[in-house]
């Protein structure tokens, strides 16, 4: 891709992201569309997030128990599982699952609306497609992804508990007291900021790529793939940058 085209795409992406965000406070408001999107993004992803998080928690706990027992530090399993899940793994895993399910759905739905001239029809009727299509998806993502992350964190900790108690034969009470010890403001805040940013990014990237769809079925396939890949890369890179910033702001020494 030529540098000029890339710059134009970036500019269009930023404009769409800002217009989508501005739509939250500018009339008209599309409540019904927003509720529909929240239902699709939130309720629809609930079971997948629970399942994935539970297994991630179990796998993490297994790895830590195996390694820490060699060092005689098995009692720290709960603490490390807690910090890893709340600060890092929970938000990232939930965001990746969200991008794969909801983001792909956004890109393919909007792409098919572009190909079927439905987006042009909105413009003909004087309806701003960004307000009608992008803003409800941004709102639903920045509300539902944090909610799903909290639920995912809880089930990841539960998975960790299952392994720690029934496989690694440690005390369940001690596991939960270790978890409750690490649920201090710094850790919870560090894990809470990320889902809002990830949700906004996923919605903007997937809507932008969906609305830029060209061609027929192949164009739609390319858009959906691009949307998921770009979202996952954005999540991982942004996670690193946010972690660096948050550790600095919250006074952790590295």
């Amino acid at each position: 891709m030529k540098a000029k085209e890339l710059l134009r795409e970036l500019q269009d992406f930023y404009i769409l992201s800002l217009r989508g965000l501005a739509g939250i406070v500018r009339k008209p408001f599309y409540y019904k569309d927003t509720i529909e999107q929240m239902d699709y993004a939130g309720a629809g992803s609930f079971v997948i997030i629970i399942l994935v998080s539970f297994f991630v928690g179990m796998a993490l706990s297994l790895q830590l128990s195996a390694e820490l027992s060699r060092l005689g530090l098995k009692m720290y399993t709960g603490m490390i599982v807690g910090i890893s899940v709340v600060r890092e793994l929970g938000p990232v895993v939930a965001a990746i699952v969200f991008a794969g399910r909801v983001g792909a759905g956004m890109a393919s739905e909007l792409g098919s609306m572009v190909i079927g001239h439905q987006v042009d029809t909105f413009r003909v009727f004087g309806v701003d497609p960004v307000k009608k299509l992008v803003t409800p998806r941004i709102i639903s993502s920045i509300i539902m992804l944090p909610a799903l992350t909290i639920i995912g964190d809880a089930f990841a900790l539960l998975g960790g508990y299952y392994i720690t108690v029934f496989v690694s034969q440690q005390s369940g009470t001690f596991y939960w007291s270790s978890i409750s010890d690490i649920l201090i403001f710094e850790n919870v805040f560090a894990g809470s900021v990320k889902p809002f940013v990830f949700g906004y990014l996923i919605a903007c990237i997937c809507c932008y790529i969906g609305l830029s769809t060209k061609g027929g079925a192949i164009g739609l396939r390319q858009s959906t793939t691009r949307a998921v890949v770009a979202s996952i890369i954005a999540i991982i890179v942004t996670d690193f940058m946010l972690t660096r910033i948050l550790l600095y702001v919250l006074g952790f020494s590295v």
Binding site: Q118, R123, F125, G126
Partner: protein, 256 residues
């Protein structure tokens, strides 16, 4: 009056229209013909301001719309009603909700008034029975009819723009759509043209049924612009190939 003045347009590196110029009155019955990918649909999108030309000017009623913003284009778009290929109905809305879309968006009508208006419009286009159906439950012909009803819902267009309204339809349904196009352009039984239309198609038999003026596009340029008689006698190879479809149907074989 729609006026194209040396309009050129390209998608990426591919030039679609090359210095196209023509004028069409809003009450004319025009067919734009040409092969696939020749820029016929692009002309409709340029008229509606959905695309911007690379060069040249587009005037609607002596108003230059070439550089207008989306907000400014809104009044211009109200003069037209475009029916896209396949209908472009909103997938997630039922037929009733599709037709009611603009009524809910732009009028203060009550739900009862909207219901009456929607039924009336669907009756006009002959698909009242499809009121509660979803778009994926409709046939191709019904799709087009509902789209036409939706385009009439909230606005009083001065001209219809039809993008391949009969493509993919069987001859009976295609004929019904052609009749509907003519009915909507005329003022009841008075036979007086109330609204013009521009129909984009590659089916010359359908164009012959409805249009009085024919514009033929080849390689992004207008190679013919004239009336029915001129079109039938045009000595242009591509037009002869298109017309061979008619000759073949009439039993005359290909006359290229």
């Amino acid at each position: 009056m729609i006026k194209f003045d040396n309009v050129s347009f390209s998608y990426s590196a591919r030039q679609i229209l090359k210095d196209v110029s023509f004028s069409v009155g809003l009450n004319e019955q025009v067919a734009i013909l040409g092969g696939s990918g020749e820029g016929k649909t692009t002309i409709l999108k340029l008229i509606m301001g959905l695309l911007r030309p690379d060069s040249g000017r587009i005037m609607i009623d002596d108003e230059d719309i070439t550089d207008k913003t989306e907000e400014e284009l809104r009044d211009v778009r109200l003069k037209f009603s475009i029916v896209f290929q396949e209908g472009a109905l909103f997938d997630s809305l039922s037929v009733k909700e599709n037709v009611a879309f603009c009524l809910r968006e732009y009028t203060a009508k009550s739900e009862d008034e909207i219901d009456i208006k929607v039924r009336e419009l669907l009756r006009t286009v002959g698909v009242e029975h499809a009121l509660e159906l979803m778009p994926d439950e409709l046939s191709g012909g019904m799709h087009r009819r509902v789209a036409i009803a939706r385009s009439l819902a909230a606005f009083e267009p001065r001209m219809f723009l039809y993008d391949e309204p009969t493509s993919g339809l069987d001859p009976v349904n295609a004929d019904n759509i052609c009749r509907l196009i003519l009915e909507l352009s005329k003022d009841g039984m008075a036979e007086e043209i109330k609204r013009g239309f521009m129909i984009v198609t590659h089916k010359v038999s359908d164009a012959m049924k409805v249009a009085e003026r024919f514009i033929f596009i080849k390689d992004g340029m207008i190679v013919f612009d004239g009336n029915r008689e001129g079109f039938l006698n045009a000595d242009i190879t591509d037009i002869r190939i298109f017309l061979s479809e008619l000759n073949f149907c009439l039993g005359g074989g290909a006359d290229v």
